[in-house]
Every structure is written in structure tokens, then in C-alpha cells.
């Protein structure tokens, strides 16, 4: 049962990065769009996201529920050591969701729209950054169970160059996914070109910040790079993600909507797979040298059995309805 629970955990993380990530990325793109085109991008983002964003963000809740039920040791240690970035993340989540909805539903369209947009866009960036930062912090080997000072216990695990570079990497990754996803939602040539440009720009940032992750891991004494080169599978995954890029460009230019989306999804998959090969089953690397893993923090069998079945049964309910939702609002529309 443990493996079934882990599979669901991985699926939820992947789907959250893909669907939630596309949502966050949409906000980031809006943030970095020039004044003249802002209005158009905003409408595009709103129309693309509105029917599905609530559902997209459910994956994080499923992830959290799996964590606290099946891996309480991970959940509580993260809650303690990464307390501050988590709070900032939550503030971002609260502001972002409400600003998005308020912007869409406000009965009067006046100056307040600008404020909602600002909050929505800035908090999208904030949430993505801290999401990435938290992931980096987990494996930075700076989390400790017995802190001797406030700095060591609650600040150092996340205030370091390595975590910051993973934060930037995730921002560009999300923006990249969003731009590929949004291209097909837009109907006018101008916006399409803008988004393709964004996708390329974000690829460049992604490559740069990806390199930074490696460099800073050396500087910060994080064993990320060493581990990476020890795992052929993760090297292969990253190579696959990179060679997919040129294909993606061709296809984007040709306007093959679903193929480009699937390729972007596959690239995300490869990147996460690389992470998986490097670390699985470890989740938190401790300063003490030991780790908290999906194996050593797992809840007793009776709990896992119940959760596993709940997830299996739940997925029979969720996946068909979710598919129906996407069919109504995404598939039926994009096929003319």
C-alpha cells in the first residue's frame, strides 16, 4: 500500500506543478507584460483560468493531506523548519486567489481592477518563488531537528543561494508552461507572438537559473550536483527535456495546440523525474547527515491501507469529472 500512496503523492505533485504551475505562470506573464498589451493578456488569462483554477489548486490539498496522513514526520518537520517561507506562501495563496476572483466578479469595472491585477500578478510570482525555494530548502541539507539558534533553525534552511536559485528556476518553469498553454487560448496573432516570445525568454531564464542551481549547490556545499552526476537516469531525463525544446518551437510556430501542450507537460515530467531519480525516497536531507524519507516517516500500515483505498476510490470519482470539466472548457473549444 505504501507504494500506491507514494504513486498518488507523485501524481499530485506533478499535476500541481503542471496545472497549478500554469496558473501561477499566467500571473507571472501578466506581471511582465508591457502596459500596452496588458489588458489583452489579462483577458486571455482570465478566460483561460476562470472555470478551472479552483480545480487546479486542489492538487496541493491532496498533496498536503497525503503528507500529513501518511508521512506525518515530513509534514511536521517541514512545518517547523520552513515555517516562515510557508507562511509567506500562504499569504500569497490567499491574496492571489481572492484578487483573481474579485477582479473577475466585481460588478463595477473601475480603478480597483488595476489593484486586483497588481496583487494577482505579484502574488503569483511570490507563491511560485517560495514554492521553489521550499523545494530547494528540503534538499539543501540545512534543516536541523535540534537547532541551537533561531537563525540555524528557522532561517538558514531557506535563506541560502541554493534555495533562492531553485525558487527562480521554478518561477521561470511555471511561466514557461503557462506561455505554452496560453498560446493556443489566444486568437489574435499579436498576443500569440508575445506569448511565444515569453516562452523563449523563460526558456533562457530557466537554463540560466538551472545552471545557477548547480553552481550554487557547489558554493553552498549542497550535494545536489554530485548526486545528479551519479545518476545516469536523471542525466538522461534532463537531456530529454532539453532536446524536446527545438521540437516544441517548431510545433508552437505551426500552431499545433495539443502537441505543444503535451510536449511542455512531458518536459516538466522529465525535470521532476530527474529530481525523483536523484532523491527518492529521501525528502528532507538533515544537517545531521541523516534524512527523513518516504520510507522512514511512513505511517503504520493500517493508516496507509485506508488512505490507499480512499485515493483509489477517490480517483475514480475525480478523474472522470475532472476530464469532463476539461472537455467542456478546453477540448471542445480548441477544436474548431
Amino acid at each position: 500500500m505504501l507504494s500506491i500512496v507514494i504513486i498518488f503523492l507523485l501524481i499530485s505533485v506533478y499535476l500541481y506543478c503542471l496545472l497549478g504551475g500554469a496558473d501561477f505562470g499566467a500571473g507571472i506573464i501578466e506581471l511582465f507584460t508591457g502596459k500596452t498589451k496588458k489588458e489583452r493578456v489579462k483577458d486571455l488569462v482570465t478566460n483561460a483560468m476562470a472555470p478551472i483554477w479552483e480545480a487546479n489548486h486542489m492538487w496541493v490539498i491532496i498533496t498536503v493531506v497525503i503528507l500529513f496522513m501518511a508521512f506525518p514526520g515530513i509534514y511536521t518537520q517541514v512545518s517547523i523548519s520552513l515555517y516562515i517561507p510557508l507562511i509567506i506562501l500562504l499569504i500569497g495563496v490567499v491574496l492571489r486567489g481572492t484578487a483573481f476572483t474579485f477582479r473577475h466578479y466585481d460588478a463595477v469595472h473601475d480603478h480597483s481592477q488595476v489593484i486586483y491585477s497588481r496583487i494577482f500578478a505579484v502574488s503569483s510570482l511570490l507563491v511560485s518563488f517560495f514554492f521553489g525555494l521550499i523545494i530547494g530548502a528540503l534538499v539543501s541539507g540545512k534543516i536541523t531537528v535540534n537547532p541551537t539558534s533561531y537563525f540555524e533553525g528557522y532561517l538558514h534552511p531557506w535563506i541560502n543561494l541554493f534555495s533562492i536559485s531553485t525558487g527562480i528556476f521554478i518561477c521561470s518553469l511555471f511561466a514557461f508552461i503557462a506561455s505554452v498553454f496560453l498560446v493556443s487560448e489566444s486568437t489574435d496573432q499579436d498576443t500569440r507572438e508575445l506569448l511565444v516570445k515569453q516562452a523563449k525568454l523563460n526558456t533562457a531564464i530557466m537554463v540560466l537559473s538551472g545552471a545557477m542551481v548547480f553552481i550554487f549547490s557547489f558554493i553552498e556545499g549542497v550535494d545536489f550536483a554530485q548526486r545528479f552526476f551519479r545518476h545516469p537516469a536523471s542525466i538522461a531525463a534532463i537531456i530529454l527535456a532539453t532536446i524536446a525544446l527545438p521540437f516544441l518551437w517548431r510545433i508552437l510556430n505551426k500552431g499545433l495546440i495539443w502537441t505543444s501542450r503535451i510536449i511542455a507537460g512531458a518536459q516538466l515530467f522529465f525535470i521532476l523525474a530527474a529530481f525523483y531519480f536523484i532523491y527518492f525516497p529521501e525528502v528532507i536531507l538533515l544537517k545531521e547527515g541523516s534524512n527523513i524519507s518516504l520510507y522512514n516517516a511512513a505511517a503504520p500500515d493500517s493508516t496507509l491501507k485506508v488512505l490507499g483505498w480512499a485515493l483509489i476510490i477517490g480517483s475514480f470519482i475525480i478523474f472522470p469529472t475532472l476530464f469532463y470539466l476539461f472537455k467542456v472548457f478546453k477540448i471542445d473549444r480548441s477544436s474548431p
Binding site: F68, G73, V78, V94, F102, A299, P300, T303, T321, L325
Partner: protein, 438 residues
């Protein structure tokens, strides 16, 4: 303010905020689909307008509910790691089912709000109904997690560790029926009266549009059923805690000494120092009767419990009085409403009745907050009743006061903005109705 107190206050504020939205999210979809049903059947445009108006409310409140709920699922760990460490594996199951229910809810709300032109009317209607049904289900699931904190079950506690975890037993713990029944009814009651009250206020303000009248009728017809049921369900809850958590009942009643033929105290201020409750009307024997069905039954007082295990009696007692007062008031309004509908239909929208409805607007929500204060403060000093103390499970991270301040500020701003948005919605609605009259 020390860390523990700050953490408790943060928990209380975030939950107190979330529960309002949860109530709305559990109830508004039902009001919406009732109106939608009438529209599908009678094709009177006014019902379509009402459905759409309400659905915009659902969308706005649902989003705030969803983000505050997401915050909560992290906060349980952020504030009480010493609790979640044990509680997660034992009581995670209802949360995992709740996750499924939320998912269905989030999907269906997308379908309902944006599916007007894309779905057939009946599928569309069903998607709206499912929003409400899964809302109620998710409410039942979380509350059963809370019930477990009051009536822990499904594990063996050996040397400070939980063994032999039995998740089903934990979820279907002795308190889950009384709590989730009472909570579900509370949500349906509070929101219906809230909605009816707002439309009544608009009518009083001379926005004399038919749509507000229809809204009042739908909301009160629905809500009054639950208003009448709620005191019965509350009585069931009280009988339940009399057996399960006698110190909670003693605090609720401000009963300091164990006694037979115990009186029911209405109102009054408990005085923990002198061990008695001042003022208040005491009805001899009634508490014994209500708790155990026998006027001579013995009811345990706070003196039976060591001082460090007694809940804060003043808050709990006052909160209980507030809840019960609201409960009987709303039940009375509900009964009056039906009398008027049957016998004096022409006076249904007379001023005095609209005033009654208007006064009721916040009372259900007030009762919900008060009720949760009874349940949660009445459980203190325990976080898991009789097993783990709240003080032992609080996070070791210092500086909780900042966390508290930030969330107070954010939720305050959100509340203000949400009210302001509602006002703008209402103004837009009134203007659109005006055009139609012209």
C-alpha cells in the same frame, strides 16, 4: 502575549473566518438550485436573475473559502506540529475523503458558473446541486475530525505513542453524529437567514423589487426548517457531552458543585473564584432533566475535576447562552414565517416582519461562532481530550505574535473588501431591476 496564546488565537481567527465561508459554501448552492429549478420549470425570468445573482455570490465566497481552507490545511501543522504528528495517521481519513469532496465541489462549481451556454439545462442544474451536496459532505468529514478531538477513538495509547491505529473507528467516533448533524443544520440555517435578511433589508430600504421578495421567500422557506430542527439537535449534543465531556457541560452551565436535581441557569455570570454563578434565572431540576431525562439525576460540577483540567468557564458559559438565545430567536422567526405564509399572506412583507428578518441576518453566524467557542474552548486544556494538552503540541517556533498579526490584518482587509464587493453587486442588481421595471 506568549507563544501558546498567540497560536491559539491564530487558530481561532483563521477557523472563525473560514467557518463563515464554509457555511455559505454549504448552503448558497442549495438556494441557487432551488431558484434555478423554478426557472427551468416556470421560465419566469426573475428566477433566472436571482439564480445568477446568487451564483456570483457563491463564486466570490467560494474562492475566499477555498484559499482560507488551503491556508488552514497548512496551519494545522504550522501551529500544532505536536498534534498533527499523532493525529495525522489516525484522523487523516476523513480529510482524505474531504479532499475528494472538495475536488468534486471545485469541478462542479466551474461547470455551474461557466456552463450556462455549454451544458444541457439538467446537467447544468445537477452540477449546481452537486456543489451543495459535496459541500455538506466535506463539512461532515472535517467536523468528524474535530469530533475525534473531543471523543478520541481508534488507537491504543501506550507510553505516549499511538499504536494499533483503526482509522474507521477514529472517524466514526462517539461524537461524530451529534457534531456533524448540528453543524450541517447550523450552516443551512445561518446562511439562509443571512440571505433572507439581506434581501429584507433591501426591501426595507425601498428597493421594492419583486426579486427581493422571491429571495426572502425561498431563503426563509428553506432556512426555517433547519431553524426549528436546530434546538432539537442541540439538545442531542448537550445530552451527548453530559456523558462524554462532563466538565464541558459543567462549564456550559456554570455548574460548580455536583448536585442532584441540578438547575438550568439562563444567563448569569460564572465566578470561578467564589465557585458560583451570579445572577441568571435558575430553573430547578431542568438541567438534570435535559441532560439525563430525569429531574433527580446527578450532574457533575466543575469541583469534580482538578483545577488544571477545567475549561475557562466564563467564556464557555456566555458563548452557550448566546448560541441558545440566537437559536430560539431564529426558530421563532421561522415559525412566524410559516404562520404568515399560511394565514396572513398579505402581511408577509409588512414592515415589522421585514424588521424581524433583518435582525436575523447575523444571528445564525453569531450562533455558529459561539457554538464553536463552546466546543473548542470547552475542550481546553486538551487538544485531544484526555490524551494530549494543547500546551504540549504548540510549535516551538518563536514569534507567533507576528503570524497572528499578519493574519488578523489580512482577514480584516478581506472581510472589508468582500463586504464592499457585495454592496457593489447589490447596487448593480438593483439598477438592473430598475431598468426592467421601466
Amino acid at each position: 502575549m506568549d507563544n501558546l496564546l498567540a497560536a491559539r488565537s491564530t487558530m481561532a481567527i483563521t477557523l472563525g473566518f473560514h467557518i463563515i465561508l464554509a457555511c455559505i459554501g454549504m448552503t448558497m448552492p442549495f438556494l441557487m438550485v432551488i431558484s434555478h429549478w423554478i426557472w427551468i420549470r416556470k421560465k419566469k425570468k426573475i428566477y433566472l436573475d436571482l439564480t445568477k445573482t446568487w451564483s456570483r455570490g457563491v463564486a466570490i465566497f467560494f474562492a475566499i473559502g477555498a484559499v482560507s481552507g488551503t491556508a488552514l490545511s497548512f496551519e494545522l501543522g504550522l501551529l500544532w506540529p505536536g498534534f498533527m504528528k499523532y493525529a495525522g495517521p489516525i484522523i487523516g481519513m476523513p480529510f482524505s475523503w474531504e479532499g475528494t469532496a472538495f475536488f468534486v465541489e471545485a469541478i462542479c462549481i466551474g461547470l455551474f458558473l461557466y456552463g450556462w451556454k455549454k451544458l444541457s439545462p439538467y446537467i447544468h442544474w445537477i452540477s449546481g446541486l452537486l456543489v451543495g451536496v459535496s459541500g455538506i459532505l466535506s463539512g461532515i468529514f472535517v467536523v468528524s475530525a474535530n469530533a475525534w478531538m473531543n471523543a478520541p477513538a481508534g488507537f491504543d495509547w501506550i507510553n505516549g505513542q499511538a499504536y494499533n491505529i483503526r482509522p474507521f473507528e477514529a472517524m466514526f467516533n462517539p461524537a461524530w453524529i451529534s457534531e456533524s448533524l448540528h453543524m450541517s443544520i447550523a450552516a443551512l440555517e445561518a446562511t439562509s437567514f443571512g440571505v433572507a435578511g439581506i434581501h429584507a433589508i433591501l426591501l426595507l430600504k425601498k428597493h421594492n423589487y419583486e426579486i427581493h421578495k422571491k429571495a426572502v421567500i425561498i431563503a426563509l422557506s428553506f432556512g426555517s426548517i433547519f431553524a426549528v430542527l436546530q434546538p432539537l439537535s442541540g439538545d442531542h449534543s448537550a445530552k451527548d457531552i453530559a456523558v462524554r465531556q462532563p466538565e464541558k457541560l459543567a462549564a456550559v452551565e456554570g455548574l460548580f458543585q455536583t448536585q442532584k436535581n441540578a438547575p438550568l441557569t439562563i444567563g448569569g455570570i460564572p465566578d470561578a473564584q467564589n465557585q458560583e454563578t451570579h445572577l441568571g434565572i435558575k430553573i430547578p431540576g431542568l438541567l438534570s432533566f435535559l441532560a439525563f431525562g430525569d429531574f433527580d439525576a446527578e450532574v457533575k460540577g466543575l469541583n469534580e475535576f482538578p483545577p488544571e483540567n477545567r475549561p475557562p468557564v466564563v467564556i464557555v458559559h456566555i458563548a452557550f447562552q448566546v448560541m441558545v438565545a440566537c437559536g430560539f430567536f431564529l426558530a421563532a422567526v421561522g415559525i412566524i414565517f410559516w404562520l404568515m405564509r399560511w394565514k396572513w399572506k398579505e402581511h408577509l412583507f409588512s414592515k415589522w416582519f421585514l424588521y424581524l428578518a433583518a435582525i436575523s441576518t447575523p444571528l445564525g453566524f453569531l450562533a455558529v461562532e459561539a457554538g464553536w467557542t463552546v466546543t473548542e474552548v470547552g475542550r481546553q486544556p486538551w487538544i485531544i481530550y484526555n490524551f494530549i494538552k494543547t500546551a504540549d503540541s504548540v510549535t516551538p517556533v518563536p514569534g507567533q505574535i507576528f503570524h497572528l498579526s499578519v493574519f488578523v490584518i489580512i482577514y480584516l482587509i478581506l472581510t472589508i473588501v468582500a463586504i464592499w464587493l457585495m454592496k457593489r453587486q447589490i447596487r448593480a442588481l438593483n439598477e438592473s431591476q430598475e431598468e426592467e421595471v421601466d
